[in-house]
Amino acid sequence: MNVSLFITCLCDIFSTNVGKDTVEILERVGCEVDFPELQTCCGQPAYNSGYVKESKEAMKQMMRAFKHSEYVVGPSGSCVGMLREYPEVFKGDVVWEEEAKALAEKSYELTQFLVDVLGIVDVGSTFKGKVTYHPSCHMTRILGVKDAPKALLNNIEGVKLIELPVAEDCCGFGGTFAVKNAAISEQMVSEKSQHVSETGAEYLVGGDMGCLFNIGGRMAREGKQVEVVHITEILNYQK
């Protein structure tokens, strides 16, 4: 199966490891992976802030980049969720609407792709540890991916998955919200950090780098020892 990696701009610049892990996981389960270099950002920072015109420039670039891909898979529920919104954004646009539909239909978040498309729930990770999982809002509510990440984690023998209290509440990231409404965002992430501590987990796992930077950044500021990791790092652990 031919898969084009959608790295997301955050992982491209800040989290090379998440990209490496994603490539290796996909290859291990038998996919032929390529990385279209024309890709940039999904458009979400501008779109969600109301700058729709500006966001469309980014979106068009993404449609050009993945035009010939069979599947587009990325390690982010939020960014893939944005790709899936393209048909709505370009509704009625004679040039781009069909392209938007085509990209939306072939785009998947990594865990969703593994579980729902490939039917794989065991990726052969040997990770060991007490883990709690934060279900990012766009992953669960925009993309509808609720069970796949947990199914994958639960199938790792050494992982003890502890339920996160009030897990459904947003961590306060929200893209530009974290800066524009920093005071509110701070309260939200502090509560999330508190809930993570209550679990006693050694690792907080999530599927969206933005949320993880937010929670991890807060926990580090508070001097907490919990390690905040992207789910790909757990799924690709081989020792």
């Binding site: 491209d12 090379t16 109301g50 420039e57 893209g175 800066v179 309260q187 509560e191 950044g217 500021r221």
Partner: protein
């Protein structure tokens, strides 16, 4: 008069909310309770998603044909002896009601809980013509005594605890007993009973009017709406023009969704439907019944991308699900309609000038949309508002606009983007220590005031990938 409450700027209101520890504790525990009760009630009903779909269909059908159903409602109310007044504005509604008060020479008015009368500032208008108004919903009564606006549309005094309520009762009504709910409740009941018996006019809101019969339906837990509608000789009901359903069957669906979504109850203690004036063989009910149907900006929403906002049945489940409301409370929204639905409705009813921050007071987590029993795409509407604020109203910070223009250039140019993956790390070097930025420049500052920010990777992913590909080729 408008939906606005308070004059403080948005940031100040937010800060005020954040610093109110008591309110925040009360809100988060109430949210926990409401959420789990709603979940249990929805599960018990079964097929919750199908019910939501049905609710959405009924609301959408009603709004698509609102002219027809309003006419039908008006005809049916008139047929049953009621008088119908269509008020275009809050002023028109208030003036009409003032006239009724003066005509009846009414001194005392009892009211059951109604957000729409808050919206038009009715109590103030009633006092203007010399009438004494008593709110009879317990929460509203507490707020009235305290001269405090509601902070939630279903449980208006959510931000107060019993200690505060005891103090209010003592200061305003000479209460001298404990702060147990039983004693507080009994005291309120004794006080309010006197008002019910002496009232000349009863004023209610309306959860749903049934077009086919002209019945006004009130959903309550305290029974006060029954007394308000049964004892005084004159009843005035004020409803937003969208608050109607075509048939009794539709009402059953909507009430099922409302009580479960609002408080996790299968049914509230009282669901009261009142049809017209007292008939000759009846012993209670009003001799005179006025139905005031209020537009106040609603018809402007019809036919726009925001029409579904009029589907709202005021259950507050979006408010109960909202993590932003959880931390800032209702008053921070500066509107009698707080939370996600408030952030959507308030600018529609009262313009963007005073409320341009509200659509941004959301992380767009979508909890509201997921919670809404009639599937209003609330978080998407917040994005539409933002788009209007930026593209039509042009109420954006200049620096933000410049940044977004830069963003568009960056994200549409693979070369510029690629360059940024190379220079990101060196350009942040000055602020980086141990792979962490703790005191970032420019817009990063908002972030790093309360959180660390990671330094860009030593090698971008695309650089790593390129090397890997080269390695593979040379092998």
């Amino acid at each position: 008069m408008s939906v606005r409450i308070g004059n403080a700027p948005f940031d100040e209101r937010v800060q005020h909310g954040i610093e109110n520890d008591f309110m925040r504790k009360a809100v988060s525990s109430a949210q926990g309770r409401f959420r789990s009760q709603k979940q249990a009630a929805a599960t018990e009903l079964g097929n919750w998603e199908d019910w939501r779909t049905l609710g959405e269909e009924i609301r959408s059908h009603t709004l698509e044909n609102i002219d027809y159903y309003l006419q039908q409602l008006s005809d049916e109310v008139s047929k049953r002896g009621g008088k119908v007044f269509f008020a275009q504005t809050a002023e028109e509604a208030n003036t009409y009601i003032q006239h009724v008060i003066q005509e009846k020479d009414a001194k005392k008015i009892v009211k059951s809980k109604s957000m729409v009368t808050e919206e038009i500032g009715l109590n103030h208008a009633l006092e203007e013509v010399g009438a004494e108004v008593v709110e009879t919903d317990l929460g509203e009564w507490i707020l009235q005594l305290d001269e405090d606006p509601p902070s939630h549309i279903v449980t208006p005094a959510l931000h107060k605890d019993r200690g505060q309520i005891r103090k209010t009762f003592a200061e305003k009504k000479g209460y001298d007993k404990s702060d147990t709910p039983e004693e507080l409740g009994l005291f309120a009941r004794e006080q309010l009973r006197k008002d019910f018996l002496r009232a000349d006019i009863g004023i209610t809101g309306c959860n749903f009017a049934v077009a086919e019969s002209g019945a006004v339906t009130l959903v309550t837990n305290e029974g006060n709406a029954r007394l308000v509608t049964a004892l005084p000789d004159t009843q005035i009901t004020v409803m937003g023009m969208e608050r109607l359903v075509p048939t009794w069957e539709d009402l059953e669906v909507m009430v099922s969704l409302l009580t479960r979504s609002a408080v996790g109850q299968k049914l509230t203690s009282y669901v009261t439907s009142i049809t017209g004036t007292r008939l000759e063989d009846e012993v209670d009910g009003p001799e005179e019944f006025h139905l005031v149907i209020l537009d106040n900006g609603r018809s402007k929403i019809l036919g726009t991308e925001f029409q579904a906002a009029l589907h709202c049945i005021r259950c507050a489940s979006c408010i109960n699900a909202c993590p932003v409301y959880r931390h800032i409370g209702g008053h921070a929204y500066g509107s009698i309609y707080p939370g996600p639905i408030g952030a959507v409705l308030t600018p529609l009813l009262d313009g963007y000038d005073e409320h341009k921050e509200l659509p941004y007071a959301s992380s767009l987590c979508g909890a509201c949309t997921e919670a809404c029993p009639v599937k209003i795409p609330l978080h998407e509407m917040l994005i539409r508002h933002r788009q209007i604020i930026v593209e039509k109203e042009k109420k954006y910070p200049v620096a933000e606009k410049a940044m977004m223009k830069g963003y568009a250039k960056w994200a549409s140019s693979p070369a510029a983007y690629k360059l940024s993956t190379k220079v990101a790390r060196p350009s942040l070097k000055l602020w980086t220590k141990d792979e962490t930025i703790t005191n970032g420049p420019g817009p990063l500052k908002g972030w790093t005031n309360s959180r660390h920010f990671p330094a860009p990777s030593k090698k971008s992913f695309r650089a790593w990938y390129k090397e890997r590909e080269k390695g593979a080729k040379s092998e």
